[in-house]
Symmetry: C2
């Protein structure tokens, strides 16, 4: 089934079911008012949502026309956003840009940071840029949402805790990041609010493209109307979501509604498939052409992030955002 949250529901949105073809939606308010409520009681709630989804897909329920601008991120605010960095080619390129070393054990020990989750941008919200020199960049990622995960869970056990899958634009401020990371406490100012796709889906919606831990489909980023990258999210990742979740839960449980991100999707053959963020392309330019040609995002720049199934249908709807200058 496919789910989303309407902005009209306020801070937590109003939970809706979206038809498989992204054509229509229906409110789930008789079952659960919000996405978080559904996740808090997933075992009880999910079958009732599935039943309504079946009615919507079978046109027993008419629903209303789907319009991405009505949607907030599936969890408009969340209790946890744990973002990984599972694609080594991305790590190698962006660390080169910062003059930072790849951690010694990068291929064996997952990298994960605690992200801000108090208020996510809606998928069609503008990205507010307070200072043109901050080095604004998009990062196209896959993210999953878990139910309650006990501390010490194994990767194998973690698979069963993945309840929903969605896309993410993990917005980064590259020029704020370098000095911030040098202080040793991770990201804070350099990671303003992320945005997620209008729709999140249960794993079964992905069919054979989902193996229990990763999505094997291209993630398409379009920058200012031109395709920028389409790396396959199931290729060249060092850790899948089951491993990232097990890592996150080593010393503590993860509560229902925890979002775990893959990190910027990147393939080793980035020269042919392109990239999922500007910083990667900038480093490829530096390596191949001796100079950086691509600028970071400025007011007016537009990013679209989407994923299509084998028949060419958009699975999650598009994240489609434009940069808006604020202050300064």
């Amino acid at each position: 089934m496919k789910l989303g949250s309407l902005k009209a529901g306020g801070r937590d949105g109003a939970l809706v079911i979206v038809s498989r073809d992204l054509d229509r939606f229906v409110e789930a308010k008789g079952i659960a008012a919000t996405m978080q409520q559904a996740l808090d009681n997933w075992t009880d709630i999910a079958p009732r949502l599935e039943a309504l989804a079946k009615q919507l897909d079978g046109r027993e329920v008419a629903g209303e026309p789907f319009d991405a601008t009505l949607f907030s991120s599936p969890l408009p605010r969340a209790y946890q956003w744990a973002d990984g960095s599972a694609y080594l080619s991305h790590m190698r390129l962006v660390r080169k840009a910062r003059g930072a070393e790849l951690p010694a054990n990068a291929a064996k020990d997952p990298l994960l940071y605690q992200g801000g989750s108090d208020a996510f941008l809606a998928p069609t919200d503008g990205i507010s840029l307070g200072d043109p020199d901050w080095g604004l960049d998009f990062e196209a990622e896959i993210a999953v949402v878990t139910d309650d995960v006990p501390a010490g869970v194994t990767a194998d056990q973690a698979r069963g805790h993945i309840k929903l899958i969605m896309l993410c634009n993990d917005i980064s401020l590259r020029n704020v990041m370098k000095p911030e990371l040098q202080k040793g406490f991770g990201f804070f100012q350099s990671k303003p609010a992320s945005a997620f796709s209008p729709v999140c889906v249960t794993p079964n919606e992905l069919g054979s493209a989902w193996d229990g831990g990763k999505v094997s489909l291209p993630l398409v980023s379009t920058f200012n109307g031109e395709e920028f990258g389409r790396p396959d999210a199931g290729t060249d990742l060092s850790f899948d979501f089951s491993q990232l979740i097990a890592h996150a839960a080593m010393t503590r449980s993860l509560a229902a509604g925890t979002i775990v991100g893959s990190g910027t999707v990147s393939n080793e053959d980035y020269r042919s498939v392109g990239s999922s963020c500007l910083q990667e392309r900038r480093m490829i330019e530096l390596l191949d052409e001796g100079e950086i040609k691509t600028a970071f995002m400025q007011a007016g720049d537009a990013i679209r992030i989407e994923m299509f199934d084998a028949r060419g249908t958009s699975i999650f709807g598009a994240i489609e955002q434009r940069v808006v200058a604020s202050r300064k």
Copy 2:
């Protein structure tokens, strides 16, 4: 006024008002069901809570007897936990222990990390320790809770956004921390769930001990029944909460219910006032006696964190936790 959340209310607790003398409490359910709901609508809700608090303190409402074990952390789960490190003497000592440098600009540029907030421990919950070698440590801190803070707020403006104040035990795994921080993305596994005091208070409850940005009272940590430290939380801090909030909000807004922590309270004369975590004492032992004598916490060890007003009355109730072995 003084507020708390009852465990009986489930994942978000049930909002209660606690009498000024911590003698009785009354449920606020006719006004707001949960602490988060109150914070989401603070301007409307706070005056109504204040009115009920007045009735409770005036014994017009009887209430029920206060019992800390009924209480969860004031926000049992939160959308944001941003923890600072505002006391340079703490930073200097613990970085020495990790063999890490103090950031060049530490006295001018606040240090803040994004903490996990999906499920806090209750103030009297056991601290689960999965591996005795993780190096479990307590950290006694002050924390504040904000309403909605706009991006780009100044420190002066930030003062008005501090709605509640409480105590925190920011639990740390020292031996997990060193390799984790070396990876460059901050804390994750090394910071399991924190616990907060049973009661949080509005700034006016602190009288002259609150200057709009810091609490000038000793924070008392008692380890296994013996006083361990009583540094003054208003002394030797490089940044007060107004500055930490302005730092946190430089590139993004902070949503209502954001918790901001001071970092481990520490004074420059730590040899006379003691410390608020084991790691500091360990480093002082190393400096003064050439060897570390204090071990990290093990199963059975007990920590109590509390703050008293000028008349000796506990302001927030006590965080009182015991370590419990789990797994291994």
